[in-house]
Symmetry: C2
Subunit: 229 residues, 2 copies
């Protein structure tokens, strides 16, 4: 099962704390190298926000990171690897924000509300990054050996929702499945609203949409038997 998986990037935090290859060309990674690597990722994100996947050339990225072009290729064997590393970083950032936003919810109703509001607030505050996120996801789907990253990205994010919803849901197999369905629809809804806001910006409308989404999802949770009160 764990057969040949020669992708462009390695998974972010492998279980082993050993100096498992972090993505660097193959040499051992030192302190400074790690810093430069992070700076390159940050620079890439900057360039991506400004010019999109198409316009973000290696030179622009190196420039934003204040690094010579050659250095970029020392840390990332290929441009693909760098861009996909950015996607990874974005995913981690997002999931973390979500977990913080829902901390302390009392019941599933509140949890659903907070999750959607958090998702949306993050998006509204980082619209430029949202575009990049979608661009990179599509980019991963197009890149040989990378589609699994898009998949993992999505699954991680669904799992984040499942985890936080699960706390307030009844136990049992069918309940767990319903939490999964709920999470999927929550994510689909929020993604759709973000897409709308990108294509036709109107914050007031989008906020209303999120409100409607919250109501719908709470109603769904009820009809799925996840909320009994």
């Amino acid at each position: 099962m764990a057969g040949k998986r020669d992708s462009l990037v390695s998974e972010p935090e492998a279980r082993a704390p050993a100096p498992a290859a972090g993505g660097v060309t193959g040499r051992r990674a030192g302190r400074k190298a790690r810093e430069t690597r992070e700076r390159l990722i940050e620079g890439a994100l900057l360039a991506l926000c400004e010019d999109g996947v198409i316009g973000a050339t290696t030179r622009k990225i190196a420039d934003k990171a204040d690094v010579r072009l050659g250095t970029l290729h020392y840390h990332f064997e290929t441009k693909d690897a760098l861009l996909l590393a950015v996607l990874d970083a974005l995913g981690a950032r997002l999931a973390q924000t979500l977990r913080r936003g829902v901390a302390g919810s009392r019941d599933l109703d509140e949890c659903i509300e907070r999750a959607l509001l958090t998702d949306w607030a993050f998006a509204e505050d980082n619209m430029a990054i949202q575009i990049v996120q979608y661009e990179l996801t599509l980019y991963a789907l197009r890149t040989e050996g990378a589609p699994w990253m898009a998949r993992r990205q999505y699954r991680d994010y669904v799992r984040a929702h499942v985890d936080i919803f699960g706390v307030h849901a009844p136990s049992g197999r069918s309940a767990a499945e319903n939490v999964e369905r709920l999470s999927q629809l929550v994510m689909a809804g929020i993604d759709g609203v973000i897409l709308q806001e990108l294509a036709d910006p109107d914050v007031a409308r989008s906020r209303m949409a999120v409100r409607g989404l919250i109501d719908s999802m709470q109603a769904l949770a009820r009809s799925l038997g996840l909320i009994v009160a």
Copy 2:
């Protein structure tokens, strides 16, 4: 208000049937020219499906359209203009499919169901095109003078839903507004599900999601007072 709007492409079917510039360089368009133009758009779509926005070079497109490279630039002053023309064609195709799919619905319940099923069926049958659609939308957002195309694309599609839902909804101002909100959420939901299917393909799961979406949207229509029965 209708001030300077110097975009890359002209709107598809202007009101006047006059030989208003159709996008061709500036010369008058004849029968054969129109054919070649269409063939180029089709070729571009083909190339886009295969290689994405990034990989679809003018040469590949010309090749798919069985046309010399120079011809491409005779019909489209710039590559941007051609790609945006493809986006336009896709939008038209989609809206048309939707209208057909819901024809003959008896009430809003059925109409919502049919609309979502039609939306989804089209997407499921044309996943490659769906990616292209998203790629091009993001591309338009990035292209100077083109973001209005993404906006129009979205608005046209919302309007298509509003039109078909409106037939079965009560009249009155507030009902109309609620139909608009319903349409927005329907679109957001379907877009989100499609995005999920792209990132992590699982047709069975997506179909279930669409099912859940239908239920939720029907419930929403009810709570908005759009369905009285």
